[in-house]
Amino acid sequence: MLIRLEDIRRYYTVGEEEVHALDGVSIAIEKGEWTSIIGQSGSGKSTLMNVLGCLDTPTSGRYILNGQDVSGMSDNALADIRNREIGFIFQTFQLLPRETAQANVELPLVYRGLRARERHERATAALEKVGLANRVHHRPNELSGGQRQRVAIARALVTEPSLLLADEPTGNLDSATGEEIIRLFEQLHSAGHTLVLVTHEPAIAARCPRAVRLMDGKVVSDGPGAQVALESRAERARAAAAAVAP
């Protein structure tokens, strides 16, 4: 078992009100699984991803990652966990604009304390893996959206993390480019990587072996991607009908 979440809650206080971004989430993910988290905007997907990535600390609940109880770890320990265990892929790529693709991919290895030569070799290999061997010296503004996301994926892969987390990775891409990125994820899955992919698009969830649907911070279904995607579409249709009804 790579991930075990037990009754995770993440509450925000906004003015007088308490927002339950995650309201008792319990899921388990095996090594090598490809899971998507689907739900409408505001359902808690990003919050869940931040908790999984040890960027955010839940209000309550237990989180076991790769055999370690992460809940209550120190800030430094969490930084090290993020560096060793997690690879993040963001909707907005989050590359450092002034650095080259190569330097961006090397960054997590800098924080791991690797020497320049080894960083260079591993970053070059990672960029090759995502098909960007000929773009290593380009800066983000010299790359297309799809290429930027590939750099971000290389950066996530370069530390050989146990978990890849992607939050709406195709959200800023046109559908053709998005499709390429999803294909890349399929390859990574076949290669044995554990993937969690956050999306609001049933079409993408449908292509994942497993999907978890969130609504108002709660897990409302968890099963094969195609089946959960269908539920999600039906739910959306109901919501749309309710919105236009008199």
Binding site: A79, R82, F90, Q94, L96, L107, R112
Partner: protein
Amino acid sequence: MKPSVELYEGTRIALSSLRANPLRTILTVAAVGIGVATLLAIVSIIQGLNASFAHQLESLGTATLNISRTPQISMGPTWWMYRNRKQLTVPQMQAIAAQSRYAAFVVPELNEESKDITSRQQTASGVDVTGTLGDFQRVGGYEMAKGRFITDADSDNERFVIVLGSQVAEALFPDRNPLAESVRVDSRPYRVVGVLAPKGSLLGQSLDLVAFVPFKSFLGVYGKRDFQIDVALHDPKDLDKAEDEITGILRRARNVPPDKPDDFSVFRAEQLADIYKGLTGALYGVAVAVGIITLIVGGIGIMNIMLVSVRERTREIGVRRALGARRRTIVVQFLLEASTVSALGGVLGTTVGLGLAKLVSAVSSVTAVVQPLTVVAGVGFAALVGLVFGIWPAARAAQLDPVEALRHE
């Protein structure tokens, strides 16, 4: 992350960030540079003043006591306190010479300030004319350029001979050997028997605008009056003991009852040094305060710019934190950035400050002294300012919540 890697990476990031914002970097460097330049120029100039004063004071002879009826240096209108004091006399002076174990030379000194001395064609104005005896040459540390000094025989025989300071001789006899020439002081003729070697100046006053005549001749011309007794010691270390001893001798010679205070004053050249130190010390304090305030202003500039930099790079900080940077690593990164920019300011300020000091040396009589330590302190202090004023922005950067930071636009 290893500290060495942290430093290396931090410096690399700092330099790239400074390069990315050239205008901002230049302004901050300038702000710190001005502070360092001010501080350095002032310190160098004051150190120069001090060095030349110390040198001048040495030539004055520190191992000397000057005894007079009234204090040589007094603050405020205190003359009435001393008006009943009796004059010093030649027998009293002789008592000191006979009884003191510490005194090497004891000579009288009578002064007429700001006299005109004339030769046939020329006039030298503002000359201090002193009536004294032969040993004064040793007491005052005078070297002869030509001829000889006044002798005791000159005084005993009331000869009208005169020894000229170098500047006076130069003014009166620009193209002639002054020896054996005749000059007039208050329309009385004197024969020149010697010319002194130049001594330079003390506190901006020339020590070469002087002339010496025999003690008794002086008394004969200007009448009986207060004179000062100069006592040169064998050993400067005996200054305190000598002062006690001579005070005792004089009290006995002047019949001062044991319950009464001294009715004469003892002055040491040392005291002049104290007064001078007090003066430049105050100047030093003000100047250093000005420099430090300027540096603080520079430091606040750095803090401001670092806060802007942190805000602009919030997302970058979020990315770094997501990829595994610890808080400390972020702190180090921003502290390095702040101290790099201020150290650059320190280097610039040092260069400009030294230039200023050189310039002052070139256009005025003050010679600035640049000590290597001052330069090191200038750059180091600037970097320290950056470090101190960088702490708050760096801490703010490190305290950012990674999730919030990543969402920042």
